[in-house]
């Protein structure tokens, strides 16, 4: 198989998977090592971008997923007759950003930073699977520690937590 065929194969894998596909899985199916697969994926992403296709390949934590482009979002919603996706309220978003930058973190520490109760915000974030319980702190009461999920990364177009916009001091 030449490179074009392999890329075509990967593209079709991504299509049927729908969900994000880990690099190891792609590599094992096309029988190339992970490093070369990663290079090939970069190339495939470039091809999609260069040809300005309606679809793009996004990378999240070393997994790849086929997705539409944000600029077509509005038209797609119109086409589907869908309601616009609900965005997060300011309170919820502030809580999320504290969790994102300070994870793992307990509810009490979040509340200390925000100066207000965060129960509701946390329950919204849990419902939307943007955050999850990542463990318990080893202090009395063993409070829950929260961290962000891959859905969080995807929702904000981040490939990994390192890509979070830097905090201004």
């Amino acid at each position: 198989m030449d490179e074009r065929e392999v890329m075509g194969l990967i593209e079709s894998f991504l299509f049927v998977s729908g969900d994000a596909l880990p690099i190891e899985k792609i590599a094992s199916f096309i029988k190339i090592d992970v490093r070369s697969t990663r290079k090939l994926m970069d190339k495939l992403i470039d091809v999609f971008n260069f040809e300005r296709r309606g679809l793009q390949i996004i990378k999240i934590n070393d997994s790849y997923q086929l997705a539409t482009r944000p600029e077509y979002g509005e038209k797609i919603e119109e086409f589907l007759g869908a309601e616009e996706k609900q965005t997060l309220s300011q309170a919820v978003l502030e809580t999320l950003s504290i969790i994102a930058y300070r994870q793992p973190i307990t509810r009490m520490d979040i509340e200390l930073i925000r100066g207000v109760k965060c129960e509701y915000a946390i329950s919204v974030l849990m419902d939307r699977e943007l955050i999850k319980e990542v463990g318990r702190m080893d202090t009395p009461g063993r409070p829950i520690l929260y961290g962000t999920t891959d859905i969080f990364l995807k929702s904000f177009g981040l490939r990994s937590l390192e890509e979070l916009p830097s905090l201004e001091e």
Binding site: L66, T68, P70, A91, E94, A100, F156, L158, L167
Partner: protein, 240 residues
């Protein structure tokens, strides 16, 4: 009347303080607590006028501000107590910290706006090879479950010695907890032999609870029971 519109915009006392500071166009570090306290209390009073319930957090902050102000007015004790952080410094530190995350959340908001309009496809629903190989299934019903249960009970003997092993008497497990446990087992294995569920049941009440839990799950259509053939083991399967 601009405060009327802005009232519900504040996420908390820190947010309100930040707003007052930005409005005054000063840096957090240079804030005069005395001035800001006045504006802060003024704001709370307006909230009262509009009959808006003031959250306790706002009142706590008001108390902190007044405390800082009163400290500034009183002569300082000669011996500096270094154990506690100066409340004013602490407040400034908290404000700076809060501002950092508030700004980060604005950046995240911008990203959210872009990326919330991306769409993905659902995975293809293909029939798993393993599933295909399953032999034909005889559908089971509640009656079959009961029969299997009676068989199982008759095979096992609940002798009196067994009770002596647990003289204190175990607290019976609740039905909902047992249902939860069964669901957990099924979430890892997807299917399980009927008799396996009773392996770790020690007493009669345990067995009954497990059985009730299975009936409940069957009634709610959360499990599926079937047999490979007559008199074969009954298999419990999770409904996906």
């Amino acid at each position: 009347m601009d405060y009327h519109i802005k009232l519900d915009l504040f996420e908390g006392p820190l947010d309100l303080l930040l707003h007052l500071i930005t409005k005054a166009k000063i840096k957090i570090q240079d804030v005069s607590i005395t001035e800001i306290t006045e504006q802060y209390l003024d704001y709370l009073n307006r909230m009262k006028e509009f009959d808006i319930e003031i959250a306790s957090e706002f009142l706590v902050m008001a108390a902190t501000l007044l405390y800082i102000k009163s400290r500034a007015l009183l002569p300082k004790p000669k011996v500096e107590e270094k154990e506690e952080e100066d409340p004013e410094e602490e407040l400034i530190r908290r404000l700076t910290e809060y501002k950092k995350y508030k700004e980060a959340s604005e950046k995240l908001r911008a990203r959210e706006n872009i990326y919330s309009s991306i769409y993905y496809k659902l995975p293809e629903e293909l029939i798993n090879k393993e599933e295909k190989l399953l032999p034909p299934i005889i559908e089971g019903n509640v009656q079959d479950l009961v029969t299997a249960f009676i068989n199982l009970m008759s095979q096992r003997k609940f002798s009196k010695e067994e009770i002596k092993v647990y003289p204190i008497g175990k607290r019976p497990v609740s039905l909902s907890r047992r249902i939860h446990k069964i669901k957990r087992i099924l979430s890892t294995t997807s299917e399980c032999n009927f008799s396996d569920f009773f392996d770790r049941d020690y007493g009669r009440s345990d067995v009954v609870i497990t059985f009730l839990a299975l009936l409940e799950l069957l009634k709610n259509n959360q499990i599926h029971i079937y047999q490979q053939g007559q008199f074969e083991e009954i298999i419990i399967r999770r409904v996906t």
